[in-house]
Amino acid sequence: VSVWAVVLAAGAVTFGLRVLPLVLLRSGEPPTWIGRSAGYVLPAAFSALAASSLAATASQGVSAVAPVLAAVAVAAIAARRVGSSTTALLYAMPTLWLVAAIVP
């Protein structure tokens, strides 16, 4: 099987996953659990992705994870204060570089 075939099949699988709920929920009222849980999917997903990434970095040692944790903390505080995740990056990245320079 060529590499192209696998990549094309992976694209088809991914598109299938994206379309599946639209096909299943095409008619009738959506299940009530979707309405109740809709507002929580995004914070849960983003938190899970971030935590998983941080845990992977932590497995490389303190010197690898400390700058990222400091940057994440600064980003969270900045984002809550200014309400912009892009602006939060402007505070977080210098923090990352500073702590990386300090931590041995």
Partner: protein, 232 residues
């Protein structure tokens, strides 16, 4: 009236473009990292770049590139993609109701664009009501994100070898995700959703092919719903 409608849609598109541009500081470095992964692998650059338009999701692309580079069996690679991207079903389920009355063409295109940044933008915009304008907003934002993503991957493939690792570009994604979530944590159920999902993601990190992510998201949402129901 027609002019007013047209102006409104232009405004929605403009706002959508702005919303999409807001994600570029996080997406461009991430796409660049995906490009570097392609450049460092043994798979042809064009095949690696094509994972961008075909999969449109960094974690799945990196997983697929690394598996192909390691010579994994095609079935294993596809199962990995299934596991990594299973969360897209949850996003689609949330958005399906918003797109029910649209054409098949719109639903297919809208579904193709579903990924974390577009889901975040859609969640915010559709919560504001007025579906038709929100559709324009979503497609405009998605188009910007799509284009930026493909360009960033290409740049990573071409320039990956000359960017210093000390810049820590790989850390931008978790930082940006946390920065996006932090302002949303304004109620006990939402805080529980993020806290439980984060904790479960760490605990299940050893599961194969990132499958713990789906468990973590489901656990966070379930706890949040339970808390929300208990407070009624």
């Amino acid at each position: 009236m027609a002019t007013t409608m047209s102006e409104t849609h232009t405004s929605d598109v403009r706002e959508g473009v702005r919303a999409g541009l807001g994600w570029i500081p996080a997406l461009a470095p991430y796409g660049f990292v995906v490009g570097i992964t392609v450049e460092a692998s043994t798979i042809p650059a064009l095949v690696g770049w094509a994972t961008g338009p075909l999969l449109l999701g960094g974690s799945a692309q990196i997983a697929l590139i690394q598996l192909l580079d390691a010579g994994a069996a095609p079935v294993l690679a596809l199962l990995a993609i299934l596991a990594v991207n299973a969360r897209l079903v949850l996003y689609g389920a949330v958005l399906a109701g918003r797109w029910r009355d649209t054409s098949i063409g719109f639903r297919a295109l809208a579904a193709y664009f579903v990924v974390e940044p577009t889901f975040a933008i859609a969640s915010d915009r559709y919560a504001g009501g007025e579906s038709r304008g929100a559709h324009h907003h979503y497609l405009a934002a998605s188009g910007v994100i799509w284009l930026a993503w493909q360009l960033a991957i290409g740049a990573g493939i071409v320039l990956g070898g000359v960017v210093p690792a000390a810049l820590g570009l790989g850390a931008i994604v978790p930082i940006f995700l946390v920065a996006d979530v932090a302002p949303r944590l304004r109620s006990a159920p939402t805080i529980a959703a993020a806290g439980v999902a984060g904790a479960v993601a760490v605990l299940t990190r050893g599961l194969p092919h990132h499958s713990g992510l789906v468990i973590a998201i489901a656990a966070g949402v379930a706890v949040a719903v339970a808390i929300g129901e208990g407070r009624r």
